[in-house]
Amino acid sequence: MAPLVEVAEAENEVVPNFSTGSSKRRRRVRWWRGVVLVLTGAFFLIPIYAGIKFSLQNTEGHFSFQAYEKLPSAPGFTAALTLSLKIAFVTMVVSTLLMVPTAIYVHVRLPRLRRVLDVVTVLPIVIPPIVLITGVLGVFPLWAKSSPYLLSFMYVILAMPFVYRSLDAGIGAIDLKTLTEASRSLGGNWSKTMWRVILPNIRPALLSATVLTLALVFGEYTMAQLDLWQTIPVWIAQFQVSNDGPIQVAASMMGLVGTWVLLMVVVSIDRSQSRRNRKKLGAS
């Protein structure tokens, strides 16, 4: 038992007061936070603002939605958008099926491999996409190269650093090992544990990985261009009609806003579902 009262020599200890110094320091930190926030905000928002402003001008330089109105009927836009969506869907599915079990298995069974995986998953950032696609196009058979879905597999590799890190952070935020063992001790097999315990608890990480993958597919140009598929980024770069620069920028802005809206939709669906579940259970 720890002593309740201890009598010893050093009874009249004086505790120095640091409160004044620390509050000054806190104020200084807050001030710097504001500066950093403004600078970062300006860095991201000014180009977007410029893009939006440009896309909202007509040929005379006046405010107009002309570019956005023309965009759906622009030659090749719908086909490029459809192709990008298909590729994005396949990429997200393959990436999820590949990375989720891998990340979970490494966390539960092979935690020592996490460092190796950390390094391996950074490689796609280090190796330029042009090197990857050139190698793939040189090696893969014609039937594979003639399918746009070859790009999906390339994008799975490109998205790996973001997907793995997102999942790794999500899994790290829960006590995966204990939850898994708790499920097993209660009779859950691997598939039930995965479906009922793990996946619901890493859902935010999974959604974030999915959105990042989507953003990557809608922004990647080099591979698609070299593989001769007109995805949205390739279409934007190739769309050359005199005096229609705003349409190109409008397409970029649509892509940006579209991804952002999708992210919001996904997050709000997740939140509303959680809220609904709570209400339902609360009522029962």
């Binding site: 009598v7 001790s185 209660l186 859950g188 709570r278």
Partner: protein, 383 residues
């Protein structure tokens, strides 16, 4: 500090006569991690319905033993036998053992009711059956009104009670408790400790409890298995472990002991000019230079101007006051009643006297373990 609702357990517990728990036999278990032998020929028999505590310092293998029993660790050799059936190669999910973990292991995506019902769902019970049983169990642990709450909306004590209900929902053959109280604050810990013991006795479920907290062990367990370096030091009742430790390790790990160098004279030693018999068992095999291991209550003091010792430290423990008495080069701890201790000032001359009927000996050179509960850290004497 989180306070939990007071619950009258007796009115909530099942009224049916409890079925006897399962007999568990751990036979010569060996489990190594690299060069470390976490379990080194560990053998233990647990009687049906018994509350067995595994006690020992960090790294002694107690959690490994529990995890082996649960099926989370694969054995290098040995057998886990429950009710006469060898479960050594049986998957954890088929062992029918309920486990409560140290960290709050509730599923964050499920509310309390669904957490408790999870095991029943895995057993393909109908929705109505599992909801009914989960509610009964929530009532049993006094948390019926928390059924719709999610783990993050509950206190640590509440979460552990839900975890206990969840483990009991599957009617396990053995209940495994892996330091379930260590993350809780003191008051909740005591309350939950009593609740677990009460439930265990009512349900007569064989329970294995892992902890490094001596107070929990001494107050809860039917028998205690003190472990060190992957093997058993002593298995006995809490009273026996404390009063009659069979090894120096047990004497030092359970309770507080002061080491006092002594000279052996046959089966007697001389401490503070007083002849004391040596305890039978491991002590009797000690030869040559030895230390006597003395509990604070093994020593009494008398205030005397001619006393050979003087008080150097004083700690108020409630009913008792612990004094540290310096006798020559030696320091020993002595417990006195607080009404007596309050009158004793630091520096007071006292005469120590052994009041124990016999003393436990340890070889002089033995490396002392850290006395985790000591107010001033390990209080050992130099040679």
């Amino acid at each position: 500090m989180t306070l939990m609702k007071e619950t009258t357990m007796s009115s909530l517990l099942p009224t049916a006569s409890p079925s006897p728990g399962a007999a568990v036999s751990l036979e010569n278990l060996v489990r190594t991690f690299g060069s470390v032998r976490a379990l080194d020929g560990f053998s233990l028999k647990i009687e049906p319905g018994e509350f067995m505590a595994l006690l020992g310092p960090s790294g002694c293998g107690k959690t490994t033993a529990l995890r082996v029993l649960a099926g989370f660790e694969i054995l290098d050799s040995g057998r886990v036998v429950v009710e006469g059936v060898d479960l050594s190669n049986v998957n954890a999910r088929k062992r029918d053992m309920g486990m409560v973990f140290q960290s709050y292991s509730l599923f964050p995506n499920m509310n309390a009711l669904n957490n408790v019902a999870f095991g029943l769902r895995m057993r393909k019970q109908s929705r109505s059956v599992r909801q009914k049983k989960a509610r009964e169990l929530l009532e049993m642990v006094g948390l019926a009104d928390q059924a719709a709450k999610y783990p993050h909306q509950m206190s640590g004590g509440q979460q552990q009670r839900i975890a206990l209900a969840r483990a009991l929902a599957i009617e396990p053959r053995v209940l495994l408790l892996d330091e379930p109280l260590s993350a809780l604050d003191a008051m909740v810990r005591v309350e939950l400790r009593d609740q677990i013991r009460q439930l265990q006795q009512r349900l007569a479920i064989t329970t294995v409890f892992v902890t490094h907290d001596q107070e929990e062990v001494l107050s809860m367990a039917d028998r205690v298995c003190v472990m060190s370096r992957g093997h058993i030091e002593q298995v006995a009742t809490p009273a026996e472990i404390y009063a009659r430790p069979s090894t120096a390790f047990v004497a030092q790990f359970v309770g507080i002991s002061s080491r006092v160098p002594v000279k052996l004279s046959g089966q007697e030693v001389v401490i503070f000019d007083q002849r004391c018999p040596v305890r039978s068992g491991e002590s009797s095999s000690v030869t040559g230079a030895a230390d006597a291991l003395l509990r604070p209550e093994d020593i009494a003091i008398e205030v005397s101007a001619d006393g050979t010792g003087f008080v150097t430290r004083k700690s108020f423990l409630g009913a008792m006051t612990r004094l540290v008495v310096q006798v020559g080069d030696l320091s020993v701890r002595v417990d006195v009643r607080s009404d007596v201790g309050s009158d004793i000032e630091l520096g007071t001359r006292v005469q120590p006297r052994i009041v124990a009927r016999d003393v436990l000996l340890a070889p002089r050179k033995e490396v002392a373990i850290l006395d985790v509960d000591a107010p001033y850290g390990p209080l050992l004497t130099a040679d």
